[in-house]
């Protein structure tokens, strides 16, 4: 047995493992002073290593660690919750923006650009008929405009007749009939207020229709 083999076996013996050739190792140790001294030194070293002082734990170390761990957990949970909230808010914001864009961007911007008509041999494709959903508001708008024009025309006729009505000048004024004055004033005030609300709502409705209805196509405008 040489010194190298001896060292390996020595380590096994020092670690308390079973060695294959204990007699050969002992024989080598009795012959080789270097290995003998090393073995003795290592045995002493390991014996002293067992006596190495155990570092004393700080007071309340476990409690401090638990406190820190719990605080860390809470902090991480809060962070996670905040992250989820921010992500949800962002998603909702983006969704709202998309909805708003879909709702308010003019329809003609969403349509493909009009290509100039160039002479070609190709048979022109038939225009697709407007869908019922698209036609419906258009018809409603047209009938509304027609009715408005009729009403205005009728009103104009009445006003015109009234202008040339001579008896108007002969009618007594409200001031000349003091008994009627407060009642008529109140009635006129009420009518004014009532009409104002109606006109306001009508204007709003008209604005809404004007904004929301799709712009008539060029071909239809001409018609």
């Amino acid at each position: 047995m040489n010194c190298l083999e001896c060292q390996e076996l020595l380590q096994n013996r020092l670690d308390g493992e079973r060695i294959t050739a204990p007699e050969a190792l002992d024989q080598h140790l009795s012959d080789c002073a270097t290995c003998r001294q090393q073995h003795a030194g290592l045995a002493r070293l390991l014996e002293c290593a067992k006596q190495l002082p155990t570092p004393k734990l700080p007071a309340n170390f476990a409690a401090q660690v638990v406190h820190e761990v719990m605080r860390d957990r809470r902090h991480r949970q809060d962070k996670m919750r905040r992250r989820v909230f921010v992500t949800a808010a962002l998603a909702a914001g983006i969704l709202l923006m998309l909805l708003a864009a879909y709702r308010w961007i003019p329809r003609d911007l969403q349509q493909p650009p009009i290509v100039e008509n160039r002479p070609s041999n190709r048979i022109p494709e038939k225009k697709a008929l407007p869908t019922p959903q698209k036609n419906e508001p258009k018809n409603a708008f047209a009938s509304f405009a027609e009715r408005l024009a009729d009403t205005t025309r009728d009103h104009a006729k009445v006003v015109q007749v009234a202008i040339h009505f001579d008896a108007v000048e002969k009618l007594p004024s409200v001031k000349e009939i003091p008994m009627l004055e407060p009642g008529v004033r109140e009635a006129s005030q009420e009518v004014t207020e009532g009409v104002r609300a109606v006109t306001h709502n009508a204007r709003k409705a008209f604005d809404f229709f004007a904004r929301e209805l799709p712009t008539p196509e060029l071909g239809e405008q001409k018609n």
């Binding site: 003795a40 070293l45 660690v65 638990v66 761990v69 991480r76």
Partner: protein
């Protein structure tokens, strides 16, 4: 891994504070002892030990239950200590060095030798020191040390043998083992 560890880990994952306390108390001595020996500074050891436990509990759900728990914790400890030492090397040197407070005092005749071993340990290479401390102080078997430092068992054995020889050589140079004679078993 013992069944007790498995139960504690499961309860910790559910957020049971008592289980966390139990797990810390179970491993605090090993973790703090290793930190103390590797860092050679009490305050640093406290800080790193606390950080080790924070990391252990943060990554508890990533722990492979088929592996033993203690080597996993010791592996995290060794890695944190190494990182801390790297960071400390970049900072100005700390003066407050090793306030060793022993809970178990060595016998009087070997007290000087034990102190010399401690001093020798701090001169060892990082790998040798961690293996020496885990084997001799914390009593981990070769397999667990290999698991902790993610090296083969053969490497652990070699490092431990070299660590012993370096310490022995220092003790000899200091005249601590000149009179030792071999006694055949």
């Amino acid at each position: 891994m013992s069944a007790e560890d498995a139960i504690l880990v499961r309860r910790c994952l559910k957020g049971d504070e008592a289980a966390i306390q139990g797990l810390v108390e179970r491993y605090q001595s090993d973790v703090f002892g290793l930190c103390m020996r590797l860092l050679h500074h009490r305050q640093d050891a406290e800080d790193v030990a606390q950080e080790v436990f924070l990391r252990v509990f943060r990554s508890l759900n990533r722990w492979d239950a088929s592996r033993p728990f203690k080597p996993w914790v010791m592996g995290i400890t060794v890695n944190r200590c190494r990182t801390w030492l790297t960071q400390r090397a970049k900072r100005p040197e700390l003066v407050d060095y090793l306030h060793e407070t022993a809970s178990t005092r060595p016998a009087d005749d070997s007290k000087e030798l034990v102190q010399e071993i401690q001093a020798a340990l701090h001169e060892l290479r990082w790998e040798y020191r961690s293996v020496f401390v885990m084997y001799h102080e914390r009593g981990l078997p070769y397999e667990d040390i290999a698991d902790a430092i993610e090296k083969p068992v053969g490497t652990v054995k070699t490092w431990l043998h070299r660590a012993r020889l370096v310490v022995l050589e220092r003790l000899r140079r200091r005249g601590m083992l000149s009179e030792v004679e071999h006694e055949l078993p």
